[in-house]
């Protein structure tokens, strides 16, 4: 049911999933969250993964981000097999190769902006001075060079999400994984954050965006639609036809 090969632009593969399944055993019954996903994402791509809730896109995001491991199938992240790694090695992979942006921002309220941004570098064992320098650079990159000492509660939602993006950038990861990055933002801040992600894409970053909003997905150049644990569509995001497909799928899901 999954196309064996995808016709993809040439380049270095960042994500290579091959027949990935994920089954949750809740005791009473088995939940098949992913039923066999094969997917390749190349260096520099801006990919949106879209699907209604319960479609398996969150599970796919967890596996892509090495927050969870697949029940079966192979996963190469930036060329390295990660399906057999233990928790400690997975932590290192997340630290080095994935930059997370969450819907809830997930900033630590007691730390200032630059201290939040340097956190991944702490776990990478980077020295103090270099950490601060890189954190400040990343904050500058997202346009918060004048807010480095502000605490999260002293900033707007949009600014907080930009701090989170700076934190995702600071380790120079292979992939930025953004899970509903605009879910908690007003429309103005949403536009702001999406513009920043597009800008990062322009500068060559690989971005994977997980969302249930077709509007948000339209920013990506490639849209992958997930339903019932399988990929049902893989389109060019700038294609107008996509919007119709997404709307249809939404309507279908709600019936």
């Amino acid at each position: 049911m999954i196309p064996a090969t995808l016709d993809l632009p040439a380049g270095r593969a960042i994500v290579e999933l091959d027949g990935v399944t994920k089954t949750y055993d809740t005791g009473a019954m088995k939940v098949h969250a992913l039923r066999g996903v094969t997917l390749r994402i190349d260096q520099g791509e801006y990919v949106a993964i879209i699907g209604p809730s319960g479609s398996g896109k969150s599970t796919l995001m967890h596996i892509l981000g090495c927050l969870d491991v697949a029940s079966s199938g192979r996963y190469l992240l930036d060329g390295a097999a990660v399906e057999d790694l233990d928790e400690t090695d997975l932590a290192q992979v997340r630290n080095e190769r994935v930059g997370f942006v969450f819907q809830q921002f997930h900033l630590l309220p007691s730390l200032s902006a630059w201290r939040n941004v340097e956190l991944p570098l702490c776990y990478a064992g980077v020295g103090r001075a270099e950490r601060k320098q890189r954190a400040l650079q990343a904050l500058d990159r997202v346009g918060l060079g004048d807010r480095v000492n502000h605490r999260p509660n002293e900033m707007s939602g949009g600014q907080q999400q930009r701090v989170a993006i700076a934190r995702a950038l600071v380790t120079d990861p292979a992939m930025i994984l953004a899970d509903e990055p605009t879910g908690n933002l007003d429309s103005h801040s949403s536009t702001d954050v999406m513009a920043l992600l597009s800008e990062l894409h322009q500068s060559g970053r690989t971005i994977v965006l997980i969302t249930h909003e077709a509007d948000v997905a339209r920013a990506a150049e490639r849209v992958i639609q997930v339903r019932d644990g399988v990929i049902v569509d893989d389109h060019d995001g700038r294609d107008d036809a996509l919007l119709a497909v997404a709307k249809n799928s939404k309507a279908g899901a709600s019936v």
Partner: protein, 409 residues
């Protein structure tokens, strides 16, 4: 990640939750303070007892009239009998009978009213031999002790304790003055140096020492020839045991009794010391046990708060894991947090303990001896409590799955 970084994160967490950290620390604080103080009190008590007992003299044996059972079956209390006589003491001075005894000081004492001018004071008047000062390791701070001649002639002389002097003469010079005991005038010829005993209740410094003969002939003290105590000094510490045997055998023979119904008892400083320290040791263990329980409760408090802290900070843990914190790093973070709380509590507890060591002796008149070793030990105990209290919560934090942790609201 370096340990110092983990420590910084742990300390940040403590600083962020100031009130909660303070309340957590309180249990350890009180626990360590009470442990430090009870141990200090125990050591102080045994040190003061030790100094009191060694102030009695050196190589000393003390013979007291023992309990006796009369023909009617009534058993007198220890020391109530008047079975020791001055002649017993004289017999023990015989070098053939007791070669290892170097000096003998029989003592008869009575509480009497003293008068100096218009001042009166009640004190213990002790009649003894010139050897008393030597046997009891006492020296005179001014004047002199009475001589053999004065002893033989029953001279009207007296040597006063420092406390007695200050009561009768308001701290003025006593030597050469006259005091009146039972209407008999005695000339003060010397003042005993203070024993320097740390215990304020000792009456070693409130005493009047007169020749035994003077007491017997003029003051009515020991007039029946009985004495309340005989102090013996062995030649040296090695001869203590032999001196004990000689005195025991001689007195058994003189009193015509067997050791089973001996009407006297001989104690050494060592046995006094053992008895006294075993009492204070028991007390210290008892109090220390109670203090240890309060420390245990404090440790449970730390564990409790750490568990609350872990479930409260599930999202933080999830985020840290997503950003690359290994289970090991998360475990260290929470373990260090528990240890840091306990160390702070321990240090505060030691501080209160040292403060108590200054304040308490003034309030309850009990010496408190604190040692750096005991304090360091208390700190190690605090660290141990922190580790024990932190292991389980830290393990729980380390095992949290990052997705579950991130999902929690």
């Amino acid at each position: 990640m370096r340990l110092t970084e983990t420590l910084r994160i742990a300390l940040d967490a403590i600083r962020t939750h100031r009130l909660r950290s303070l309340l957590t620390v309180l249990g350890i604080w009180i626990g360590i303070a009470s442990v430090v103080l009870t141990v200090g009190l125990g050591q102080g008590a045994s040190a003061s007892v030790k100094s009191e007992i060694s102030a009695l003299g050196s190589n000393l044996l003390i013979i007291s009239p023992g309990s006796t059972t009369s023909t009617s079956g009534v058993r007198g209390g220890f020391g109530s009998a008047t079975t020791l006589t001055f002649d017993d003491a004289t017999a023990l001075q015989d070098k053939d009978v007791a070669p290892d005894i170097s000096a003998v000081a029989p003592v008869a004492s009575s509480s009497e009213v003293l008068t100096a001018g218009t001042t009166t004071w009640t004190s213990t008047v002790v009649g003894s031999t010139p050897q008393w000062a030597n046997v009891r390791s006492r020296t005179v701070s001014s004047g002199r002790f009475f001589t053999e001649d004065e002893y033989n002639s029953g001279a009207r002389v007296a040597v006063l304790g420092e406390e007695t002097v200050s009561e009768l003469f308001s701290g003025g010079s006593a030597v050469g003055q006259t005091i009146s005991v039972n209407g008999t005038d005695l000339t003060v010829i010397g003042v005993l140096a203070s024993t320097g005993s740390t215990s304020g209740t000792s009456d070693e410094d409130d005493t009047v020492v007169v020749p035994y003969t003077t007491g017997q002939q003029r003051l009515g003290i020991g007039s029946t020839g009985s004495v309340s105590t005989i102090y013996l000094q062995a030649k040296d510490s090695d001869a203590l045991s032999a001196a004990y045997q000689e005195a025991n055998a001689a007195l058994l023979t003189r009193h015509d009794v067997t050791s089973d119904d001996a009407d006297f008892s001989i104690t050494s400083q060592q046995s006094l010391l053992t008895a006294a320290t075993s009492t204070s040791k028991t007390l210290t263990i008892l109090l220390g046990g109670i203090a240890a329980i309060s420390l245990l409760v404090g440790g449970i408090g730390v564990m409790n708060i750490m568990l609350v802290s872990v479930s409260e900070r599930v999202r933080e843990i999830g985020l840290r894991k997503a950003l690359g914190a290994t289970p090991r790093v998360i475990r260290s973070q929470f373990l260090l947090e528990a240890i840091a709380l306990s160390v702070v509590g321990g240090l505060l507890g030691i501080g209160v303990g040292w403060l108590g060591a200054v304040v308490l002796p003034k309030l309850i008149n009990q010496p408190v001896t604190l040692s750096a070793w005991a304090s360091a030990g208390a700190l190690f105990v605090a660290i141990g409590v922190g580790i024990v209290a932190g292991v389980y919560p830290a393990g729980r934090a380390a095992r949290l799955a990052p997705i579950d942790a991130l999902r929690s609201e």
